[in-house]
Symmetry: C2
Subunit: 331 residues, 2 copies
Amino acid sequence: MENAVTISVDALGGDKGPEVVLPGVEAALEQDHELEILLCGPADVVEPFAQNHERCTAVPCTEEVLMGEHPARAVRKKKDSSLVVGCRLVREGKAQGFFSAGSTGACLAAGTIIIGRIKGIIRPALCTILPMPKRPVVMCDVGANADCKPEYLVQFAQMADIFAEQVLEWKDPRIALLNIGSEDAKGSEFAQECHDLLKQKVPHFVGNGEGTDIAAGTFDIFVTDGFTGNVCIKTIEGTAGALFNALKGVFKSNIATMLAAVLVKSRLKALKKTVSSDTYGGAPLLGVKGACIVGHGASNETAIKNGILTASKTVRLHVSDLIAQTIDQDV
Amino acid sequence: MENAVTISVDALGGDKGPEVVLPGVEAALEQDHELEILLCGPADVVEPFAQNHERCTAVPCTEEVLMGEHPARAVRKKKDSSLVVGCRLVREGKAQGFFSAGSTGACLAAGTIIIGRIKGIIRPALCTILPMPKRPVVMCDVGANADCKPEYLVQFAQMADIFAEQVLEWKDPRIALLNIGSEDAKGSEFAQECHDLLKQKVPHFVGNGEGTDIAAGTFDIFVTDGFTGNVCIKTIEGTAGALFNALKGVFKSNIATMLAAVLVKSRLKALKKTVSSDTYGGAPLLGVKGACIVGHGASNETAIKNGILTASKTVRLHVSDLIAQTIDQDV
């Protein structure tokens, strides 16, 4: 599947900007020899890098979308920002996919407004791969749509299904609605309506799942509104982070515990790596024409590399075309 | 504050029933010498126990509310169940508080229908104390109301505020709205309306908090609708459980890691205890006349003891009266 693919990359994305994006791009180019990068950012950042790297072209931009800005307004106003230019390259067919670890809100706005929705998609949705100790789990939507209607969730389920089957190579993923009880009639009025519609329209839908089921790996895909999904992924991140921190404290207690730390270090590191969001590097915004992968603000070099590689894989597997062909336009 | 208080206890509550409830009651009676227990359950369970324990009176009941039953229907039908009888004792003034680790839904229904709402309270809410590595955090509502209006959340905030100040002895708790961004205008339409109303009505309200803020201990109290709150606490429980399990796997890898396990065992146990829900033993259903504490289905003996002691403390500190006096009835 290693055919040529071009990904535009926002050099300014992420809390650390070019400092981690450039090494991430370099690592992605080294790993994938059919990958071309269009690197968008300030001339003095992207030009020297492109000169020193094969298959990387500099796309100088004069503006930057900042973290605190109003997403849609920034995207409409800052037409020469690395984020907007990167998305425009996809719309114009110069790149097939886009990656940024910049402001999530601005990435979602740019993806939707500039790259544009696939015909029939009511709302593009952010689909994340949650790295869990037992196995990864897909959740969609995790923040693109704070206010949802039941029919949106049907499309979220259908898009996540395609992504999981194609990109993650999961056969017949089991899709659950994130709810507050496992029985059919549980939950808010909205959740009950979603349940009924998903049951009618989505063959891989298996019923309601609860918060405890996420880490347990009971289901492959959780479908939810972007508000609940976003609270959920941030709660997981916060809980895991706090526990690892507390664990660090445990190991630092005295000489005996420090010795213990040495003895488990490599395996603990492996566990931390398993549950690290860096493994996938970003969440695809499903439902836009072309691949659009949104990285975590706190992305490191590995996360950037993996986010770019997820973008190229999403392009090569024609996820957008498959969504366009199979999506239920009559929900 | 050790004045006499009577708590009715559902002997059948919890996944393990009397097997853990009875030792829990015994431990509570040992710890609090001014505590009287009215133990509701089958005669052959509660009578022999009451005969052998001072300050414990058997209240034989012939029915049981089962876990899968429709909550409100079960409460209306099974008038001689341990759950319904326990709540009726509070309504009749024979007990001042009630504790059960039975079906959460049925406890909420029984608390609301039988004990009854405080005048002016639109919806009683389940308020939990989340044990976090750094410090405990209060969240309200965590499941009593899947569908909420912004005015409910104002009362949830006011009630949780009183509970945290009185029972947990937190001075001027900082209250946040659980949302998907920290800026004022973030979130769903519902979240934005809640934010504006909380800002107007609740002096201790400080703004929006995110999922990552829960474990970080940025705020003392999170107020949210019962759907989001329930997903949130179950996600925390699932994530923490999965990580501790994975950690167990790490320590079991080989002889070196098993040695490490021995070296950190006591401190790891202490951490696990810190983040265990057994410490508080139950979530108060705020807004009903009298104390009503709902225990976790998986409660062990310690959790039952602590749940009963939380009930007696809630009674002694007149939380219900304070709620009745201070609640904003004009939201």
